[in-house]
């Protein structure tokens, strides 16, 4: 055999690549199995990764996509802070500075430098969501200081010795210190595992081969990205969408405008015209804006190519001036950082839809649909925090395929909901319903996925907070597909149902026997609903994904006496609807007058929006509205 080729050879590179993927998978499993809070072990709200000595991502475990930049940017900041010479073997570097991590203070980000002898060869890192980091428990925040403990870049361990001062500051500032310390232990164990596996690869193949393989992994990912982008027609693409509001100025829509240009094998994503930072806690640091652009890019170019690494983004330029809602400046509040970036990702898909119709997807429900509950256990009066909701929603339809039902939003990946049987065993709550939401998917030749609905009844006093977006601004369709139903929050107190025009329903007291409902939106449709195959439509109706009424209104179906679709009558009704420009899209809940769209307003508004209320009143007076709940 000849060996006169340059190192590393493709075989060793492939073996090392498999080694990195296996190592990050192992780190992930390790943390998931040992964590102390359900946001880590069940929601899998964490990501682990291995990085080169400059902090570039070599491999990220498949946790939350929107953490794609967080750890790398944090390691780079730590390197800047301490300098290469200021970092020793045995150090554990920590921060939760939201302006660096691009998320919120709950994300404690640990990294350890990896030394081969005296040589710094890389980093192992982990960011994970702690259940509590202090700060106000209920309601809205308007600056970072009310959101909890900020830990600047520090060494939680110095050369192997725990920094007890820092650890005790943390213990004193969080509500559940035992859980927090358990999670801390689990995170440090996970990064140590990564360190060990990295060093094993070096032990086996030598430092030059591993460093060479890392370069080859980057180069390969770059080649894949360039080839993929070069297939996109050159041009300038843009799109606009809206968030409902910032939670402070209720009902005032927030614009999300993105511009994408493609030239040869390079892409530029320009987020300059995304809204400036807002008053409520929906801001995030620059890292989050960069992540949103990279997530969209990765999904469109090579979603299945592993490991996820920084080589894949060498042909992507991101323009993001500071002061935007995803590049906010101190002291902007950031507790609900993850919401807006999801809609930015969908908007990038929307912009590129004309260029790559077979790669994109219609909009999804774009929110985690979380209910933050706190209360006291009836048996010992101890505080508990329960992350309710997280029910999964509809995803957009795409070329050739319906959207997926009941799946977690794009901020998250391998995130699980919690079993209702577990919720009821742990908390004084009864989950009354957890179902698919009929008619919630956007109509289309390919139908958007269905959202879900969860009804939870309290057996004891609780405080309820929902920070849900995209209630008014619904997930849009593509290529003639219609918008889906948006997200929604309802309360039932004293036997009376309350509906809200917004998903920001904060600091609500719920008493025994009262219930809350969270609904997730569907996914947008793809293609004209009048083109949907009748076999598919008939199955939709049989399964109850689409009601017979909606099948008539949006798909032009005509049913015979036996309830079967009449093919001939349907064809002529469809032709007639086409002539009349039907069905009409209803992109905003506040403008929706359909009989099945739910009631976005009623007289029992928490923060009644004058305009909305007036409109609702007018519509009702004119007899247009059949959707009153009140």
């Amino acid at each position: 055999m000849t060996t006169n080729r340059q190192t590393p050879d493709p075989v060793t590179t492939e073996i090392i690549r498999n080694g990195f993927i296996a190592a990050t998978e192992e780190m992930k499993t390790n943390l998931m199995r040992t964590a102390y809070n359900m946001i880590i072990y069940e929601a899998l709200d964490f990501t682990v990764g291995l990085f080169d000595r400059h902090g570039n991502t070599v491999s990220i475990g498949l946790g939350l996509p929107m953490f794609i930049r967080g750890m790398s940017e944090t390691i780079k900041a730590k390197l800047r802070h301490f300098g290469v010479d200021g970092i020793q073997p045995g150090d554990v570097l920590l921060t939760n500075d939201a302006y660096i991590t691009g998320s919120h203070l709950n994300h404690m980000t640990f990294s350890v430098p990896i030394f081969d002898g005296r040589h710094l060869v890389g980093f192992s890192a982990c960011m994970a969501h702690w259940q509590d980091i202090g700060g106000t428990l209920d309601g809205m925040t308007t600056d970072i200081y009310s959101e909890g403990l900020q830990v600047p870049i520090v060494k939680a361990w110095r050369a192997g010795v725990p920094n007890e001062d820092i650890l005790s500051v943390i213990r004193m500032n969080v509500r559940l210190p035992e859980r927090a310390m358990g999670d801390l232990k689990a995170q440090v164990a996970a990064v140590r595992t990564g360190e060990k596996r990295f060093l094993e690869l070096i032990g086996k193949y030598g430092r030059p081969a591993v460093e060479g393989a890392i370069e080859a992994i980057f180069d390969h990912a770059e080649a894949v990205s360039r080839e993929s982008v070069s297939q996109i027609p050159d041009g300038f693409y843009e799109a606009e969408s809206f968030m409902d509001d910032d939670g402070v100025d209720s009902g005032r829509r927030i614009p999300i405008r993105v511009k994408v240009s493609v030239a040869g094998d390079r892409m530029t994503i320009d987020l300059t015209d995304v809204s400036v930072q807002v008053k409520g806690f929906y801001n995030s640091g620059e890292t989050a804006g960069l992540s949103a652009a990279q997530v969209a890019f990765k999904c469109l170019t090579a979603g299945l190519e592993l490991p996820v690494n920084d080589g894949a983004f060498r042909n992507l330029e991101i323009i993001l001036p500071s002061g935007r809602v995803v590049s906010a400046e101190r002291p902007a509040p950031m507790r609900w950082w993850m919401t807006y970036p999801m809609t930015i990702v969908d908007t990038i898909f929307k912009a590129l839809a004309p260029a790559v119709p077979t790669r994109v997807i219609a909009a999804h429900h774009a929110d985690l649909v979380i209910a933050s509950i706190n209360g006291r256990q009836p048996h010992d009066n101890k505080l508990y925090l329960y992350l309710g909701g997280l029910i999964g929603g509809g995803w957009g339809a795409k070329h050739g395929e319906d959207g997926m039902n009941a799946t977690v939003a794009i901020n998250d990946g391998d995130t699980h909901n919690g079993p209702s049987e577990q919720v009821e065993a742990k908390y004084p709550l009864i989950v009354e319903r957890y179902t698919l939401r009929e008619n919630s998917g956007g109509a289309g030749k390919f139908r958007g996925g269905l959202g879900t609905e969860q009804v939870v009844r309290a057996r004891h006093d609780i405080m309820f907070n929902a920070q849900i977006e995209r209630v008014d601004c619904r997930p849009w369709g593509l290529f003639g597909g219609l918008s889906a139903l948006g997200n929604e929050v309802r309360l039932e107190r004293g036997g009376i149902e309350e509906r809200f025009p917004t998903g920001k329903v904060l600091s609500q007291k719920i008493e025994p026997g009262d219930a809350y409902t969270v609904c997730s939106g569907g996914g947008g449709g793809f293609g004209n609903p009048l083109d949907r195959k009748l076999d598919d439509l008939s199955n939709d109706v049989r399964q109850g994904y689409v009601s017979a009424e909606a099948a008539r209104e949006f798909y032009g179906a005509v049913f015979d006496a036996a309830g079967r679709i009449d093919r001939d009558a349907t064809a002529s009704r469809r032709a007639d609807m086409r002539r009349r420009g039907l069905p009409k899209d209803q992109p905003f809940a506040t403008e929706d007058h359909s009989s099945w769209g739910g009631c976005p307003y009623c007289t029992r508004l928490l923060q009644p929006h004058p305009e909305a209320q007036a409109m609702a009143g007018e519509a009702a007076a004119a007899g247009i509205s059949r959707w009153r709940c009140c």
Partner: protein, 689 residues
């Protein structure tokens, strides 16, 4: 031959049906292999038995592993099935856990339920987490449901009510009413299979049981008929995914317990082989045409898992019952090697499968596979494959390797072939790590038992990768699962979720749960037993630190419960947690999640005949040829002696490089490694340090 002296095992796999016959008097083992006949599995099986010249009429025990249940699931060829469930929860089966493991794939797909939404019917009943009735079950509502199911022509019904793990009364009543009103349907309730919390997983489990139920029942009754016809009057036992056996009447109620019978039997075979050889721990490594699997024997016991995803993690359906803990990777002889973007060499996950198969099979395969790479390295003989029944096309394989891999990457054909095998080996090493390192076990302190058609070909290379010092290739590695069936025991497993702080453990309630499990287990073992058996009972609990979610299963001596020894239980848990996750905490509170109990009816093991002792260590008498074999980084191309395994005797020693050829497999012994044939005929290999 006297009646009742044979023990027959038949493992019906996807491609082959393997039969092993053990003569309890002479100690002789005979083997047969026939192609699986999907249309009539039973017929293929009895054909396989007759090929060994054995007769069912002489058998005392017939042990059977079958893919009938798993195939019905994977091929979606089960019954028309309905789900009857608690009001508000009919969609839980479709919603699942909402996760999206392929986080950047916009074209991801969720699991597909086995029961359509239109046949998932809610009834107005409800328990709470303490098992207290919030809304009583109404029989007249069930009667209306039964009518609707009858109208729909439903063949099977799954019942899942919330918190039935805590109080199964409603499920029992619903099952009884629906059975009475739908006498021809297969009716099954979740608590009969799993009394663990997690409603989605339990729904999926009971739905799968219902879905395969009618087909499995029919299969078992056909088997009974055939067995009767051929004069069999012994005990017919089926292998479960735990590797334990159960009888046909249990199997026709709890069908999904047989899902992974073949792979499980291989691990049981490893356990018994270890016992015979005096080994306490081993890795079971099984490699076939499309997958490689690994399991672990630790201190004489096979490691088990409490849940498995049928069809893979991303899109699979969970089944929440105890099974042998087996990790799997889609690397096999058929895995295709390819060049990604002109510069990277990849192996799998695409497989050439059985059709068209590797290029060298000459059945139209064009993409080079791991098998082609082994052929080009000289490790497979073109004229000795399957005992010479199939001639391999070296030239075709070489051409494909050259055009598709070697030239684009600037490698020689030998370098490319060696690289492909090395990559496949690291992938398989990673799967072994998932059952060892990832569970806190040090692979270097284990021996590896390798079987399956392609296992012996790669085992030593995988062992070298992981610094495993010793590899054992058992007799007839291609029939090892059938062997495992022959050495298995009757087994019943019970589990019940019962959340409780350890410090406040209600031991009296535990006692009554354990007693109930044990007496049920004993009577079921008695029903299935071929005569009187020794019965063993094993206790375990799923535990975690307060605040954690994932629990670990800890085996606890029964006495610790009897004496209420909280300290001993906690200590046992701390040890397991420390081993598995690297830390434990004396002062942290622990919590019990579920109680487990297994009842085992021990069946006497066959005593195989010993091999004749060799007169000398040198194995020249078994030498059948010499050919050049490429060992790559392990020594380059070397003239390598080839031995016929059938001619090896106890005490023969061989030093690598060498190949040991047998009917359906070949063992590769690289330079530096040494092999000795033990008295049972196993190839016991020491890896160069």
């Amino acid at each position: 031959m006297a009646r009742g002296q044979l023990r027959i095992a038949a493992d019906v796999g996807g491609t082959f049906t393997d039969v092993a016959v053990f003569d309890e008097v002479s100690g002789e083992i005979r083997l047969g292999k026939t192609l699986t006949t999907p249309a009539s599995l039973i017929e293929g099986m009895s054909h396989g038995v007759s090929k060994t010249k054995a007769s069912f009429a002489d058998a005392r025990l017939f042990l059977h592993g079958t893919t009938v249940a798993i195939n019905a699931l994977l091929e979606r060829k089960g019954a028309k099935t309905a789900l009857v469930t608690t009001k508000g929860f009919r969609d839980i089966y479709e919603i699942g856990r909402i996760n999206r493991p392929e986080a950047y794939n916009l074209f991801f797909r969720k699991h597909r339920p086995l029961i359509e939404r239109a046949l998932r019917i809610e009834v107005d009943e409800r328990m709470d987490a303490a098992g207290e009735i919030l809304r009583p079950l109404n029989d007249s509502e069930l009667e209306a449901v039964a009518q609707r199911l009858a109208d729909e022509g439903v063949e099977a019904v799954a019942i899942l009510f919330l918190h039935s793990y805590r109080n199964p009364d409603h499920e029992i009543r619903a099952r009884d009413v629906l059975k009475r009103l739908l006498p021809h349907a297969f009716v099954t309730a979740s608590h009969e299979l799993s009394q663990e919390y997690r409603e989605f997983e339990r729904t999926s489990t009971v739905a799968a049981n219902a879905y395969v139920g009618p087909r499995v029942t029919q299969y078992l009754s056909e088997a009974d008929r055939v067995l009767e016809k051929v004069g069999f009057d012994g005990k017919f036992l089926i292998v479960q995914s735990t590797g334990g056996l159960y009888d046909a009447s249990q199997a026709s109620r709890e069908c999904i317990r047989m899902l992974e019978s073949g792979p499980a039997a291989g691990v049981i075979g490893t356990r018994e082989l270890c016992a015979e050889m005096g080994l306490s721990s081993a890795i079971a490594f099984d490699m076939g045409g499309t997958t490689a699997k690994a399991g672990v024997i630790l201190d004489g016991v096979e490691l088990t898992a409490n849940q498995v995803m049928i069809g893979g993690y991303a899109e699979g359906l969970p089944v929440q019952i105890p099974m042998i803990d087996i990790e799997e990777v889609g690397t096999g002889g058929g895995s295709i090697a390819w060049v990604a973007h002109g510069q990277s060499l990849r192996v799998g996950p695409e497989s050439a499968g059985a059709a068209p198969g590797p290029v060298c099979y000459g059945n139209g395969g064009t993409e080079p596979t791991v098998t082609d790479a082994n052929l080009l390295l000289g490790r497979l003989a073109p004229d000795l494959f399957l005992g010479g029944e199939m001639q391999l096309d070296v030239e075709g394989a070489s051409r494909a390797m050259s055009e598709r891999i070697a030239e684009p990457l600037g490698l020689t054909v030998a370098e490319a072939a060696d690289g492909i095998v090395r990559i496949a080996v690291t992938q398989m090493a990673n799967v072994v790590k998932r059952v060892t390192t990832a569970r806190g076990l040090d692979a270097r302190s284990f021996a590896m038992v390798a079987y399956g058609g392609a296992g012996p070909l790669h085992a030593v290379l995988v062992a070298r990768e992981l610094q495993i010092p010793r590899v054992i290739i058992p007799n007839a590695p291609g029939h090892f699962s059938a062997y495992g069936m022959m050495v298995s025991d009757l087994r019943r497993d019970f589990v019940r979720t019962f959340f409780s702080r350890l410090a406040e453990a209600p031991f009296e309630a535990f006692d009554s749960i354990f007693d109930e499990m044990e007496s049920r287990g004993r009577s079921e073992i008695e029903d299935a037993a071929p005569g009187r058996l020794d019965v063993a009972v094993k206790y375990a609990v799923d535990m975690r630190y307060v605040g954690q979610e994932h629990a670990v299963t800890v085996e606890i001596p029964g006495a610790a419960f009897k004496t209420r020894d909280v300290g001993a239980i906690k200590a046992a848990f701390d040890i397991v947690h420390a081993q598995r996750y690297g830390y434990a905490s004396d002062d942290e509170l622990a919590e019990i999640v579920s109680l487990r109990l297994s009842v085992i009816g021990v069946i006497a093991k066959p005593q195989p005949a010993h091999l004749d002792a060799a007169a000398q260590e040198l194995a020249d008498a078994a030498l059948i040829g010499v050919r050049p074999v490429e060992f790559g980084v392990l020594g380059g191309c070397l003239d390598t002696p080839i031995y016929d395994r059938a001619k090896l005797l106890s005490g023969h020693r061989i030093a690598g490089p060498a190949l040991i050829q047998e009917y359906a497999s070949i063992t590769v012994l690289p330079p530096g490694d040494r092999l000795v044939v033990d008295r049972l005929g196993n190839l016991d290999i020491s890896i160069e340090a």
